[in-house]
Amino acid sequence: MKYLTLATLLLVGLMSLTIAEDLGYQIGDTVDDFTLTGVDDKAITLSDYMGEGGAVVIFTCNTCPWAVGYEDRIQELHTSLAEKGWPVLAINPNDPEIKPGDSFAAMQTRAADKAFTFPYVFDDKQEVFPAFGATKTPHVFVVDKDMQLRYAGGIDDSPQSADDVQINYIEAAVAAIAKGENPDPATTKAIGCGIKAKRG
């Protein structure tokens, strides 16, 4: 019985290790560089794309109402932060076989209709979002010029209504880093649509 308990403990320990690995980058971790193709058919590499501060990486999509509700705010973020050295990189992580509205062609249409001025790239192999531990759209990761993850979570504190926003977490994080400080909070919980991953 004693051994059984020990075995159970070991098993539980191993399981939690596996779960921890699934969570992706933690704050302070160095992010692996990646290259993905955007709606203009051009390949974008994170390290090349970054500004003097870094980049705001946003996993988003065409179809999730929370993501759609954030489109204008993502554009505003890019407009205000790109000139400060923190351009936005939007990534669609969804498998279009599960969600046809998130196909590459649909991304191109959406980007044109909304006249996005930030790149909107496709994680077509679904390798980038698991590395970041992104679970939903929208889900944001602020990466500094040293490729360190500095903030992970939501865009602001009011997904349903831009008018009710009190704190913009991204602007706050970038402002803190610019002052040589760590973002506080460095992580937030955000609501979103689960990423549509290929079923193994």
């Binding site: 969600k99 679970t135 939903k136 939501g154 504190d157 349903q160 937030t188 919980k189 955000a190 990423i195």
Partner: protein, 155 residues
């Protein structure tokens, strides 16, 4: 009389749909008794959520004689409760209890449901007494859900 008849036929949208915030939903999640509670966070536009609704409906029906209680918490936008959620409940003839939910700031309540929840839907909180688990993502099958319920009922 006409209203009663229409209600019985499921033609009238639920007039009494409760819209919770965390202050009013929170105590429900704290209940510790013999009942197995199943609280599913979903939305009408969430495809995987809608796909698994029949599992919760089957649970409500199949376990009606057992201490199992399903609550479907809709995260449909507050501006769409009348236009989308209520018609959906009526069309689908949902028999499980449905409530709507609104909080401005997700950061204020997601961790209070369960710190393990990333905030993605679908997500389902299942517990009996202090034995609690948060399942993020879609159930692979009705059986997967049933196995969790059965094991909690047998503890």
């Amino acid at each position: 009389m006409l209203f009663l008849l229409l209600s019985a036929l499921g033609l009238v949208a639920q007039e009494d749909l409760v819209v919770h915030d965390f202050a009013s939903l929170g105590p429900y999640l704290e209940q510790e008794n013999d009942t197995v509670y199943v609280v599913n966070f979903w939305a009408t536009w969430c495809k995987p959520c809608v796909e698994e609704l029949p599992y919760f409906e089957s649970l409500t029906e199949e376990y009606s004689d057992l201490p199992v209680k399903v609550l479907l918490v809709s995260l449909d936008f507050k501006t769409q409760i009348e236009s989308k959620l209520k018609p959906f409940i009526a069309e689908q003839k949902l028999t499980s209890e449905v409530v709507a939910f609104y909080e401005r700031n997700p950061n204020d309540w997601i961790d209070k449901v369960d710190p393990a929840w990333s905030g993605a839907i679908p997500a389902t909180l299942i517990w009996r007494k202090q034995d609690k688990q948060l399942i993020e993502g879609q159930f692979a099958s009705y059986n997967e859900l049933k196995e969790i319920i059965n094991s909690l009922l047998n503890t």
